[in-house]
Amino acid sequence: MRQLYTQQDQDSQTWRKRTFILSIIIILVFCLYALGLAWKDFLPSENGYKVFRNFAAAAFSPATDYAPDSGIPETAPPYHHKILTSLWLTLQYATCAISIALIIGITLGFLCTKSWWPKANPSILIRTTLTITHRCARSIIIFGRSIHELLWALLFITALGTSPFAAIMALAIPYGCTLAKVFSEIIDEQDTSNSLCLSAHGAPSLSSWIFGRLPTSIPDLLSYALYRYECAIRSAAILGFVGITTIGYHIETAFADGNYNEVWTLLYSLLILLIIIERLSSYVRGRLNTPSLPKKINPLSSPQSREQSINYLRRQVKKQYSLSIITIGFSILIVIAWNTGEPMFSNLSSAQRAVNLERFLTKEITPYPVQQSGNWADAIPWAKQLILDKGLDALLKTLYIATSAIIIAFLIGLISLPLSSNSLNSAHYSGISLGLSRIQRITKKFNSLATKSILIITRSMPEFLLAFLLLQILGSTAWPLIVGLALHNYGIIGRLGSEIIDNADPNNQKVAITHGANTSQVYLFTLLPSIFNRLLLYFFYRWETCIRDATVMGMLGISSLGFLIVDSSARDNRDEMFFYILLGACLVMIGDIVSDIIRSRLRST
């Protein structure tokens, strides 16, 4: 009987995988059709080819000095100064923003988890207070996350003018909320047995939370915070596209001037900065997850007193200098970032700022008919008009762009996963020889190196920037947006997927190998079935992020929500702009909720 059940289970599992892959392909085709995209639009136009040729040729000769005919005065600062300044500004905004975001994230994250609540029946007063603060914190993080940092920047700039403050807050708000959400999720997913054991020792609930749950989650919390820092640098870079002079601004202007060599200089320096941070964070992650063994030092001559042997044991403990250095370095960076550069606010006086802010909040974002009549009932036909006119269409387009991008990324990811994993590309799999010839081994090494480089480059480049570059080459269709989003997400899914493969329990694969399977068979028939569920988790997690990113992609001038937002902002229709931003936020929130439901279902199967 038992045998039969498992057989049936497995059949339904295979069936589910097949159905899933088939249905996402159908959805992809539908989305592309609905966006009005033909495959031939994918190919660049004649002009696009020319741009592409020139742009690609410039890759090998990045600019090292000002262009000769650019009319730069003699007294201008040296060229590298300009590049480094824009890079530093990007890093500075990201650093300041992440330091605020951490404070928001830790506070709200703590309020968003119920795991530290008293277990035994507390008084009604305490319970109500806890529930209310929990609900409030939840709502704040859902709202804060649902508006993309570029849109926050747009709002802050419209209300307060372009200033470092606008840039930093635009990053800090959504990042703080995302950190809070993920922090609370990490803590909630910890094994409960330790904290249960501590409360069995009579610990109060806060104590068992601090000592039973927190220690095991700290490595995950830290590595996620570092990942967010990396993302903050990417976001700071693209703030250039709404007029803040970070590196994205210079890339945009250099491209507009046709100065491709300079574009490459900027791209390379951004890439190097991001890869350094990425390597640093994976180093820290590795250090946190592998505890150091004691140093070997000369043994004590016996007999010894208890104090002596304790001292001896203490001397054996390896000091983790590298982690301390990174912590100190990062703290210094935060202090410098906050204390250099332009003043926080633009040259407006604080009184003027207050007036502007008040006008923005009380007048400008109020729907136009309400401004006229003062009656909020008039807002309903206005909103209806906006939605029916353009809003709904743009909303759907945004959804289609996000969905097709994540499906493309996932499908390419599935195919290339065996190329990027470490364990499938070495001569041995978990100690069993794969019987490869020398040439095969070298080919595999090369393949894996090439795939990994593609992954690291695509995931380091901000999706918005990728889409911007592709737009110049592929022309004004939705393709560049889809491809840009897909490439960046492919980089992330590819990396997470190969991590799953490398950490998978090797036993099934070992059996397959001893039965004579080659690595692609091992991947297809033993690895993929066992990791598919976790890949789906990542699929839906990235889908949610894609929707969020897709709401701003249209700002590059392609019809979707982002386009409506910049368009109404350019026409100074701030009420419409704000309405479309809220519309996008609704889409993101719905995506969030759907993805959360699906993921919690997936986790429980």
Partner: protein, 254 residues
């Protein structure tokens, strides 16, 4: 001798399944007891009822030193628990903390959270000395400053025992502490637990699958089947054993 635990008409059910069914039992201070019985017979539930992790169903209760658990306030319950060392099957050890930090956690119910944090970060010398002494007793003093996840399964069990000793409890409740170690280590681990309990006049109640070891070391065996006590004596005959472990077809395939 004083009655430490009194179980009176004790029942516990989860939904429609009854895990413990009308149990009456007296346990005196300093007793060394093995709980035996097949999986699902209610051993773990009984241990959890003894320190109030589960509360008993209506009509029955556990009394600790003549006070029924249900009559305790939250604070009193926490205080009662802080004198009972509970070692769960998965040990409840925080793997990425150091050994001495895990042992500090034994006193987590007796010390306020801030002073516990202080101890964690700046361990006082006198306490480290005390912990070293306990680790000498359990034979792993070399691991004082090691990260707990680098220890073997048997060594981690010794950490849990040392933590129970540091706690200063009057009772040790151990749930299957030898399930993951080889026979020789199982022998020495049980011997250690029993010696320590005798030296300090502690009550030891331990659930155990290995009948041979139970008979060899424990003066009192309590057999559970379907949540009922079906034997309570010092030796078990083969016939009684067969009855204790006899399961019907349906249970075997569960």
């Amino acid at each position: 001798m004083a009655k430490l635990f009194q179980l009176h008409n004790l029942s516990k059910s989860f939904g429609s399944t009854s895990a413990i069914d009308k149990v009456n039992l007296d346990i005196e201070t300093g007793e060394i007891i093995a709980l035996i019985g097949s999986s699902g017979s209610g051993k773990t539930t009984l241990l959890k009822l003894l320190n109030g992790q589960h509360l008993a169903d209506k009509n029955g209760d556990v009394s600790i030193s003549n006070t029924p658990i249900k009559q305790l306030t939250n604070t009193q319950l926490r205080k009662a628990r802080s004198s009972i060392a509970y070692i769960p099957q998965d040990l409840g050890i925080v793997k990425n903390l150091k050994v001495f930090q895990n042992i500090f956690l034994g006193k987590v119910g007796r010390i306020s959270t801030p002073s516990m944090l202080w101890r964690f970060l700046f361990p006082p010398k006198s306490e480290i000395l005390k912990i070293h002494q306990l680790l000498e007793r359990t034979g792993i003093e070399k691991k004082l400053y090691s990260v707990t996840s680098t220890l073997s399964g048997g060594q981690q069990q010794r950490v849990a025992i040392a933590r129970a000793l540091y706690q200063g409890a009057h009772t040790i409740l151990a749930d299957e502490p030898i399930s993951s170690v080889d026979p020789a280590r199982a022998n020495s681990l049980i011997q250690l637990l029993i010696d320590i309990s005798r030296e300090n006049n502690l009550t030891l109640i331990m659930s155990i699958h290995n009948i041979e070891l139970a008979q060899k070391f424990f003066p009192r065996l309590i057999g559970l089947k379907h949540g009922k006590i079906i034997l309570d004596q010092s030796k078990v005959t083969p016939a009684e054993l067969e009855n204790l472990y006899q399961l019907n077809e349906e249970q075997l395939t569960q």
